[in-house]
């Protein structure tokens, strides 16, 4: 069965530190990959997505993610975090033959200290 694994449950950083959140998925076929973010008290929002083409994708607010097919990974990065990046981050995958159903990782809570 498809699964998505996020390596860190809770990450604490100081402002200006660099961020990398790991995401690995298990599925051998063609996938679409997503990172969603949930700021405190708000709904889930799309941060970035990968469908095809350049494996390095850029999203909103300076985030980027790199799809490495050989490693089944889609890690999220930001060179310099801000206090406003404090949120929960979810990696999600849908497979072409799964009818659009998203499989989510368990989420990573990011706390940025001012």
């Amino acid at each position: 069965a498809q699964s998505v694994s996020q390596h860190n449950h809770h990450v604490i950083l100081s402002e200006a530190a660099s961020l990398e959140l790991g995401c690995n998925y298990s599925y051998g076929g063609t996938v679409n990959l997503f990172w969603y973010v949930q700021y405190p008290g708000q709904h889930l929002q799309l941060l970035l997505k990968y469908f095809s083409g350049d494996p390095l994708v850029k999203g909103i607010k300076g985030f980027e993610a790199e799809f490495i097919k050989s490693k089944f990974s889609f890690n999220l990065r930001k060179p310099s975090v801000q206090w406003s990046d404090t949120a929960e981050y979810f990696c999600a995958v849908n497979a072409y033959d799964q009818g659009g159903k998203l499989i989510f990782g368990q989420g990573t809570e990011l706390s940025v200290k001012p």
Binding site: N32, H43, F90, N94, F104, G107
Partner: protein, 112 residues
């Protein structure tokens, strides 16, 4: 600003009550989804719909039921709520199966 609306935002109710969680979207999306999320855990798909009169069960077994009589409306019903149903329920929609999903604010449900 979300174009998908869930009500109520919070609900605390006693065991045995019938509950309907509302979800509406104004984007004309055919695909709609319900997820269940416990604190600190991943979202699990419990129901989905690809259009009017189409409903399917998701990967996580749920005692809830759904209906899709209109494109914009995808309510979820629990006939007899139990404490084990306490969770957050998130509704989402998308224009097609390979496009990102748009999420509502969720309903936090507590069954006493």
């Amino acid at each position: 600003e979300a174009d998908i609306y869930q009500t109520p935002r919070y609900l605390v109710i006693g065991t045995g009550k019938k509950i309907t969680l509302e979800c509406s979207q104004t984007m004309g999306h055919d695909k709609m989804y319900w997820y269940q999320q416990d604190p600190g855990m991943e979202l699990h798909l419990i129901h989905y719909s690809y259009g009017v009169n189409s409903t399917e069960k998701g990967d996580l077994s749920s005692e809830s039921t759904v209906s899709r009589i209109r494109t914009e409306h995808f309510p979820l019903t629990l006939e007899s709520a139990r404490p084990s149903h306490t969770s957050q329920y998130l509704c989402a929609s998308s224009p097609s199966t390979d496009q990102p999903q748009h999420f509502g604010d969720g309903t936090r449900l507590s069954i006493l």
